[in-house]
């Protein structure tokens, strides 16, 4: 094998078996980043939702502006702004990991906050009035009357949005975070088989997202028939 070109030897090293194994290892980071974005984004998004429906005008405006900013700019720019911007502004040396986690969390929180605000506002006004008339405080009404109904409505779109988050993590590759897409790109650079690499990556993304899509649709159907 000594006479072969480096490229050829690299091609030989990267058998299909090795490629798939490497991509699956990288998928762990895609899943980890998605999970962080979803959990962090869910927590921040809950606060955003509370602010959006607050009787306090200032909180409503601030949270509306927050949602509009993150919904109205491309995620890839948000990643750049976080990675480069935070470093410059606060003199931080953010790792790609931290930058990706922060950017995806804020992005997710804006969308989840808005989905949940919609669900809360879809609960009829009469439900608030009934709780009020019974002498329940605002937060008791929210906890015992409004949220239990809103949660049911919000589950299908929330699960559906998880698909967007998983796909969104692929953009973290542009700031150097090594997840599935970045890994596929790197291996294709040495194997010269971009089509194969990106095809396998696409299949892996699909295997992550498709079950969630199906689940979301099923939940939607179930809640629609439950009434």
């Amino acid at each position: 094998m000594t006479g072969f070109l480096f490229a050829q030897s690299a091609t030989d090293q990267f058998t299909l078996d090795v490629i798939v194994r490497n991509l699956l290892l990288a998928t762990r980071w895609t899943i980890a980043l998605s999970a962080i974005a979803f959990i962090g984004g869910g927590a921040v998004g809950f606060l955003i939702m509370l602010f959006r429906i607050s009787p306090n005008k200032i909180l409503r405006y601030i949270s509306a502006a927050y949602v509009e900013f993150f919904q109205g700019t491309p995620l890839i720019l948000q990643l750049f702004l976080t990675f480069f911007g935070l470093s410059v502004l606060f003199n931080l040396n953010l790792s790609p990991w931290a930058a990706a986690a922060i950017a995806l969390t804020t992005y997710t929180s804006a969308f989840l906050g808005d989905i949940w605000r919609g669900s809360v506002q879809a609960v009829p006004q009469g439900q608030w009035e009934a709780g009020t008339a019974l002498g329940m405080t605002y937060f008791k009404q929210l906890k015992r009357v409004i949220l239990p109904q809103a949660v049911r409505m919000s589950i299908p779109p929330t699960v559906g949005f998880a698909v967007q988050v998983i796909k969104g993590t692929s953009l973290a590759s542009v700031i150097g975070f090594v997840e599935l897409t970045r890994s596929a790109s790197a291996i294709s650079n040495v194997t010269f088989k971009p089509f194969l690499l990106f095809s396998i990556a696409a299949v892996i993304y699909f295997c992550l997202c498709f079950p969630l899509s199906v689940l979301s649709k099923q939940l939607e159907k179930r809640f629609a028939t439950d009434g």
């Binding site: 009829p124 009469g126 439900q127 009035e129 009934a130 009020t132 008339a133 019974l134 002498g135 329940m136 405080t137 008791k140 015992r144 009357v145 239990p148 109904q149 049911r152 009434g227």
Partner: protein, 261 residues
């Protein structure tokens, strides 16, 4: 108090100091400047049943919704059982828990069973133990004839049954006064009487009630006093006999001609 003294049995039964609701010159503007209440005064005594009638848009629902501060008002004063309802008051919930309300659209909590609907406020607001709340809820559901449906969800009940549950839910807080905001207007005709029967029994048990309703039969039989509102004002009030038999104002006569056919 003159109108009140003319009411015979009611005047003797009630003490003028024993007022549950005292509303004086209540005025309210909607945010679009519409003057919905133009100085409305009403005193409701303990044990009294007052029926508020009037054409739609007269402000009658808005008026009774000021009694538990569901609607803010801008001028005048309202006292509920001696407590003044003021804008930005700190403990408005303390007043609200003494005032039960039944809505046109029932507004039961769809995610809770009938029993849980009735138990919720006593547990959450009054701080009762679950056992105690359950027992009281059971008694109330029996009183309104729904005990056998206690574990169903509101969506599984008819409109009339739902409204009876809503009455039980309001009563569970042991309010000093009950407000009814067109409780039978959203019901199919065959379900109206079952709700009115419950309200009639409640009135006989001595509950103080203010009912906005178009049910003439109920008003005639149950009301101690009928208040007629039009264009944000009380035009006329009197006993059912006076009101239906000998209305004084043209506006009242016109209204009665329309609803009595």
């Amino acid at each position: 108090m003159t109108q009140f003294d003319s009411m015979g049995a009611i005047a003797t039964a009630d003490d003028s100091k024993d007022a549950v609701i005292v509303a004086q010159d209540v005025e309210k503007w909607y945010s679009n400047k519409f003057h919905v209440l133009q100085g409305v005064s009403l005193t409701v005594h303990r044990g009294e049943v007052v029926v508020v009638m009037g054409p739609s848009g007269s402000g009658k629902s808005t008026f009774i919704r000021t009694f538990n501060a569901l609607e803010p008002y801008q001028k005048g004063s309202i006292e509920i059982d001696g407590i003044k309802l003021t804008p930005n008051m700190k403990n408005v919930e303390a007043v609200r828990r003494e005032v039960g309300m039944v809505f046109q659209q029932f507004n039961l909590f769809p995610h809770l069973t009938v029993l849980q609907n009735v138990m919720l406020a006593p547990v959450e607001v009054r701080g009762w133990k679950k056992e105690q709340a359950k027992q009281v809820a059971g008694e109330l559901l029996e009183r309104v004839g729904i005990l056998n449906q206690a574990n169903k969800f509101p969506g599984q009940l008819s409109g009339g049954q739902q409204q009876r549950v809503a009455i039980a839910r309001a009563l569970a807080m042991q309010p000093k006064v009950m407000l009814f905001d067109e409780p039978t207007s959203a019901l199919d005709p065959e379900m109206v009487s079952e709700v009115l029967d419950v309200m009639r029994t409640l009135a006989q048990s001595g509950m103080t009630m203010v009912c906005v309703t178009h049910e003439v039969g109920f008003a005639r039989q149950v009301a101690d006093r009928i208040v007629f509102m039009a264009d944000g004002l009380i035009v006329e009030e009197g006993t059912p006999q006076e009101f239906f038999g000998n209305p004084k104002h043209d506006r009242t006569k016109q209204f009665l001609a329309q609803i009595l056919h």
